[in-house]
Amino acid sequence: MNRRTPKIIRFASSLKVAIVLLILIAAYIVIGTLLPQHGDPSLYLERYPRAGSLIIALSLDKAYSSLIFRVLMALFSLNLTLCTVISMKGQVKQLDKGFFPSFQSEEFVIEDVEREKLLAYCNRRRYTIADDGTVIKAGTYRFGVLGATITHIGILVLFIGAVIGSRSASDETVNLLPGNQHRFEKQGFTITLDDFHMTFQESGAVQQYISTLTIADDDGTTTSEALWVNKPLHHKGLGFYQANFGWASNLQIADDSGAVVAGGLMRSGYSYFYQPSHLTIYLYNYYPEMGIGHQDQPVKMSEREIDPYYAVILYEFGEPVGSYIVAPGDHIHYKDLHIYFTHSVAYTGLLVRKDLSYPIVLTSFIIMLIGLFISFYLYPRFISYEGGKVVTSSRRNGWVFHQNVKSALANKD
């Protein structure tokens, strides 16, 4: 940075400001991990009588989406951009083959080195050498000076990705039973769930949830593909993720003659209201493999359909009139009605997400890693030689570089 840079820019791009901002950001996000997020304001006032109003004033109840957090990040981005742009000019100068730092260090000196030996070392390591007969100056990995800039650019690209993501990303959950369809009007295609099933570990724990979909595009092409946890499916800018699952149970209500008068699929925890008798059928739960818990309550042992049972509670005019544990096909007689469940079907819960920022974020990761690797391992190394005395110089790893040169020069060959 040269003297003509205005003071305000010099300040705004300074490392001091960067570190203050980083500490503020770190403190802010740490508090975010300590406080429950997105609660009701009254919760904080009640729970933290002293700090509650401060928490709300600083938006620490929604730390990661608050204006304060965004302002901090914006200031940090500005600082990083300025500092990167300003330091670039000096770095470009250092790429020049004629560039050498001043070799002042008293620490990194190697005495009594033969000229030829040093030249051989430098040639072997592909140093560019400036030799005027008495003084030799050699340098390598000059491009390494750009490592920090590349890293910083990677971080800025990441921020751009994050901003685009937070503005444009959206998601919805779609629950489908086998055979069900869902239409994506804007993208112009329809999905059909062909199959959903679980595979199991020996212990009975679920090993995997697998949904098979047929995607029908409006132009007539269809494809069929499976997705599971950790293997999402992408189509026309939408990502489909296996996120959830549940059971839908087939309820039947029959009269005394055996004729079915009502029924259909219902989820556990939901009720069906049969108007003619003012009867509410509440499916408390479905147990694919039922066991008996501590207080003689039914418990779900696994999701394998080994020994299925339904827990059902009936209400008439809002008053509970009976509770039952029944197997598929078992009839509950209530007055002149037969109430029973025939079977259950597992449904899949897909998270459908649109996020255009991910490729940008992936790119930023790659840029950052390249930049870090260059900074830390391909940094510039310089050697000067005069009258048997070698001085090594590298800003990033002085002692180790010095040791390496020293031991290489000490070798016999």
């Binding site: 570190i19 980083l22 770190a26 991990t33 300590l34 990661y64 090993q207 950790n230 974020v361 890693l369």
Partner: protein
């Protein structure tokens, strides 16, 4: 059977580490200089058995031991000892063992308090990214532990006269700790990135401000500040040493504290 092999080798490895730590302590208290070699050998023996314990678990479980607190602590301690031995192979500073091995012993002690049952992987963990993510975490955390130990030595040495120093030249421990932090930082970056890529595959979001994620970011920020202060403001010696110790405290909190403390705070929201 694999469980038996694992338990036995775990205990013997632990014992070897304790013996090695004592030997290195004897070495640095200048009671005897020759114990260094023995100390390195017992550490190596410990690491071999430790590796056998991990291999037994890998075979028994049918996957790498990377998926719960016990397994990760087992691997973390392994990473600490491994990075110490690699550093020894490069620079022959055995004395660092007096400070690194106690850290490994603590982490193994923590491991032994965890539930050891082999559990099948839940679907979200069944990913190639788990291996990559945790594998780099072991290297990263192992390096930060090593850097912390070297920094402690630096701080002790900086108060002593030259004949009582643990490592002859404090400048060397200063720069070594810096280089080890550099490696750890590189690896931590890969840990966070691979975690993000995995989260994108499993949960559709590469970043969700979960406490564990956030704390790993804090650790990363701390070390980023350290690197900048060193390079730009010429921070050396004491400041840098304290910073690398603070960084390691953040590592430990990310590993242990977040699991123990934060879920309980958050649990009532759910």
């Amino acid at each position: 059977m694999y469980q038996r092999i694992e338990n036995v080798t775990f205990i013997i490895a632990f014992a070897f580490y304790v013996v090695s730590a004592l030997l290195f302590l004897i070495q640095i208290s200048k009671l005897s200089k020759r114990v260094e070699k023995v100390g390195v050998l017992t550490t190596l023996a410990g690491l071999v058995l430790h590796t056998v314990a991990m291999a037994a678990r890998t075979i028994g479980a049918g996957r790498l031991p990377f998926s719960n607190q016990y397994e990760f602590a087992l691997s973390f301690a392994w990473g600490i000892v491994l990075s110490f031995l690699i550093l020894f192979a490069l620079y022959r500073f055995g004395a660092i063992g007096a400070f690194v091995l106690p850290l490994a012993i603590l982490v193994m002690g923590y491991a032994s308090m965890q539930n050891k049952t082999v559990r099948p992987l839940m679907p979200a963990l069944q990913s190639i990214w788990l291996t990559f993510h945790v594998g780099t975490a072991i290297l990263s955390y192992g390096s930060f532990a090593l850097a912390c130990a070297i920094s402690v030595i630096y701080l002790i040495d900086s108060k002593r006269t030259s004949e009582h120093k643990i490592l002859a030249e404090p400048e060397v421990s200063d720069i070594l700790s810096y280089r080890v932090v550099v490696f750890g930082f590189m690896m931590l970056t890969i840990v966070i990135i691979s975690g993000a890529i995995w989260a994108q595959k499993a949960w559709s979001r590469y970043w969700a401000w979960d406490p564990k994620e956030t704390w790993s970011l804090i650790t990363w920020i701390i070390y980023a500040i350290y690197l900048h202060m060193r390079l730009r403001k010429n921070w050396r010696g004491k400041h840098a040493a304290w910073f690398s110790i603070i960084g390691f405290v953040s590592v430990i909190f990310t590993f242990v504290g977040v699991n123990i403390l934060l879920p309980s705070i958050h649990s009532y929201v759910n």
